[in-house]
């Protein structure tokens, strides 16, 4: 049974429709990549799952539970952890406070997060706004893990980071996958993304146009849907 399933999802920002029919399935323990050019609806899909868009239609269910009537905080509590685009930590809170505010009981207690990101342990008492971009990204991931999510959603987690830092983040994602964490991921750099991905979903103009195994994503498909 799939952990997260979207079928015919439509979403609106005010009067304008942004998603016209997104289908997506993410199985337990899988890494699913959400692909598409800029503005095709990847972030909106993630926001729609969490109920952060305005009106939304279609079927969304998580762990067998329909999400349509739930509020954002209730959806998050079911076990959806978001690492939002552009990092977005709580700027004035310290690293430790950013993590504790999110914490829910489970395997990901604070010491384990500090072990995953030793740099966060060093900067425990510092306000998040004084961290570098890479460190803020680690904090955003740590914060999402602190909620002990069944499904971790990463929206452009490596965007704007130097190659060394990107590799650090990818190493963490690889480790999480190995430990059985289910992940839904949006990223632009296919060469780095595909090796950790099990299956892909491609969006174009707010619709799912292709879905399949990562291995089946031919260069012809990449050219057609993702090429610039």
């Amino acid at each position: 049974m799939s952990l997260l399933s979207l079928s015919g999802v439509k979403a609106f920002y005010g009067p304008s429709q942004v998603l016209f029919g997104v289908d997506l399935d993410a199985g337990e323990g899988q890494v699913v990549a959400l692909l598409g050019r800029n503005g095709m609806g990847k972030t909106t899909t993630i926001r729609a799952i969490l109920g952060l868009t305005g009106r939304r239609d279609g079927e969304i269910s998580f762990a067998g539970m329909p999400l349509r009537k739930l509020k954002s905080y209730q959806i998050a509590r079911l076990g959806l952890g978001l690492v939002p685009e552009g990092r977005r930590c709580f700027a004035t809170l310290t690293v430790a406070e950013n993590l504790t505010v999110a914490a829910r009981p489970g395997a990901w207690a604070l010491p384990r997060i500090y072990e995953l990101f030793p740099r966060l342990a060093e900067r425990k008492g510092q306000p998040a706004r004084t961290l570098s971009g890479g460190e803020q990204q680690m904090l955003a991931i740590g914060r999402a893990l602190a909620t002990n999510p069944k499904l971790l959603m990463l929206d452009e987690a490596t965007e704007g980071l130097a190659p060394v830092l990107r590799q650090e983040i990818w190493a963490v994602i690889t480790r999480l996958k190995r430990e059985g964490q289910s992940i839904l991921i949006v990223d632009k750099i296919l060469a780095e993304l595909l090796p950790v991905t099990d299956s892909c979903v491609i969006l174009e103009r707010g619709r799912t146009v292709w879905a399949g195994e990562a291995g089946a994503l031919t260069s012809e498909l990449q050219e057609r849907y993702l090429g610039v």
């Binding site: 905080y73 998050a76 977005r88 809170l93 950013n98 504790t100 829910r104 306000p127 909620t147």
Partner: protein, 311 residues
């Protein structure tokens, strides 16, 4: 230890030392002035919880200050003169009123929140002045100060120490709340509600509890204020009072632990020093507030202690 820590310590000691020094010079009037500082600071610590940590600009905290005051006046008239009992009853009533008004007001935000809290406070104000049992426009007077175990509350110094002790207790509660997960969630909600919701935290109850606690602390200050003056005036409920509390928090430093203490000290000293020269002393207060907001955002504490760690 940060610089702010030392400045806080100095402020606490100065306020404690002031009445002793005043008494050494035989000037018991200044003890009353220091007591006024402690009481207004206590009321502002309450507001600082909602305004500073939660970003909830309540323009109706006079209601809670007044509820504490009227609790003291009414209970004393009925023969209940134990201060702790009065504080408790006042705080419970203020908390219930905050729970009811907060449940409505917190569905709005920004300028609507300011206006709806003001509206509730004005309703309570007009309700009180039009009800004869509550003294109407004349207020209530207390024959004696209420009682506190083992202390002669009519002695200025003893009464000051009660107010000072409560101020320290409120500051301790504020510091603990800020360091707790509750405080972090409250600050997080101020910065970005949806981000907090996407972590699985419901924003509304966090804010509501902050508002209720804030009201309860402010109400205790109101009870002390009634005892200080041995008089409960409807002006304690008026919107000027709400404004003064906001001014005190802004002057001292929004969200700073000792912001309300610094703000209340400056406010009372200005009122005393300039009030003797001109009855339009608030004109100068206005200028100082303008200067603070324009050039020392984060208040006087920011001026001396640097940028806020939280803020």
């Amino acid at each position: 230890m940060t610089r702010e820590f030392w400045i806080n310590g100095v402020l606490a000691l100065l306020l404690l030392a002031a009445p002793f020094i005043a008494l050494a010079f035989g000037e018991s009037f200044y003890v009353t002035l220091a007591t006024r500082v402690a009481i207004l600071a206590l009321a502002a610590v309450g507001l600082n919880l909602a305004l500073g940590l939660g970003g909830l600009v309540s323009f109706g905290h006079a209601a809670f200050f007044g509820i504490g005051g009227y609790a003291a006046g009414l209970l004393a008239a009925e023969g209940f003169t134990s201060m702790p009992v009065i504080w408790l009853i006042g705080a419970v009533v203020a908390g219930l009123v905050a729970l009811a008004t907060g449940a409505v007001s917190l569905r709005t935000s920004g300028v609507y929140f300011i206006m709806i809290t003001l509206a509730f406070a004005q309703m309570i104000y007009y309700f009180v002045i039009s009800w004869p049992t509550l003294g109407g426009e004349d207020g209530l007077s207390l024959a004696l100060r209420n009682e506190f175990p083992f202390v002669n509350t009519l002695k200025p110094l003893d009464f000051f120490l009660i107010a000072y002790g409560l101020l320290l207790l409120a500051l301790f509660i504020f510091a603990r709340l800020r360091a707790a997960r509750f405080g972090a969630a409250l600050e997080g909600a101020r910065q970005n509600e949806t981000r907090l919701a996407s972590l699985g935290i419901e924003v509304f109850p966090v804010r509501l509890w902050a508002f209720v606690l804030s009201a309860m602390i402010t109400s205790v200050a109101g009870a002390l204020y009634a005892d200080l003056n041995r008089f409960v005036s409807p002006s304690m409920l008026s919107w000027h009072m709400s404004g003064e509390l906001i001014v005190i928090v802004l002057l001292g430093g929004v969200g700073r632990l000792f912001g309300p203490v610094a703000g209340a000290a400056v406010f009372v000293l200005l009122e005393f020093a300039l009030g003797g020269l001109t009855e339009h002393w608030q004109f100068f207060l206005g200028l100082i507030l303008l200067g603070t907001v324009l050039f020392a955002r984060g208040g006087l504490l920011a001026l001396f202690a640097g940028k806020a760690h939280h803020g």
